[in-house]
Amino acid sequence: MGSDLLFYIFGAVAVGASLAVIGQRNPIYSVLLLILSFGALSGLYILLDAPFVAVIQIIVYAGAIMVLFLFVVMLLNAPHEETDYDERVHPLLRAGPTRFGVVLAIGLIAELWWALTKGRETGPFGDGSVSSVAAIGRSLFTEYSFQFEVTSVLILVAMVGAVVLARREPKSEGRP
């Protein structure tokens, strides 16, 4: 079946684009590559029989959140990252959080290797369809209605917080 191959293509695009996001020094390219990664993940959601999540992945993530990031990157106009350490030094010999990050990455890769070799194969996916948007809506507004309302409070708090944080100091407005 062709969709088997699609999983590997989308997975490779997602992993490659995410690695490029980390490897990139210019944040604008990082944001654009992350949009590519989200597009590949959206394809994976369609393969997983979840078209609703795939669509909001594109609209909300790639369309709204990433454009917000891109807007801030262009607003701040500070494209290149300055580093105070020598790039040629081995990552394990650098100071502080970089060394910790490398240790963490090695630990996670070791764990992943363990899962790959020792983990048992799970069975194939069942035949039951979970793609019904009506079922999602019914569950969201009955079983999870309280959580849904709490989410609206969260968004309100985030909105007020963002406005307060990004506001100019009242003092500086009086200056010429």
Partner: protein, 106 residues
């Protein structure tokens, strides 16, 4: 065509998700730019979303997709507040390097 690659099962999706999460976690520590650190957090959130949707598909319920919906809401709120903080920090220090913000360092 079907003999070319193994049919993806739940474990394939979980491994892909773990790889993406590892990339995001490494990016938080390796990069010295606050915006790239926020992007790495988004990569990690998406890896978790993929896990939720795959396990929800495996169990045959829509609960995984609903949790993904909530995670996306939290990610949007986090991006809005985080970018507001970045703008405020940049206004004070003219820098995006996390090492230059040491006012709260003990």
């Amino acid at each position: 065509m079907s003999g070319l690659v193994p049919t993806p099962a739940l474990s394939h999706y979980l491994i892909l998700s773990a790889v993406l999460f590892t990339i995001g976690a490494a990016g938080v520590f390796v990069r010295r730019n606050i915006i790239t650190v926020l992007l790495s957090i988004e990569i990690m959130l998406n890896a978790v979303n993929l896990t939720f949707v795959a396990v929800g598909r495996y169990r045959g319920t829509v609960d995984g997709q609903i949790i993904t919906f909530f995670v996306m809401t939290v990610a949007a709120a986090e991006a809005a507040v985080g970018l507001a903080i970045v703008i405020g920090l940049f206004r004070h220090k003219e820098s995006l390097n996390p090492d230059s913000f040491t006012a709260l360092k003990w």
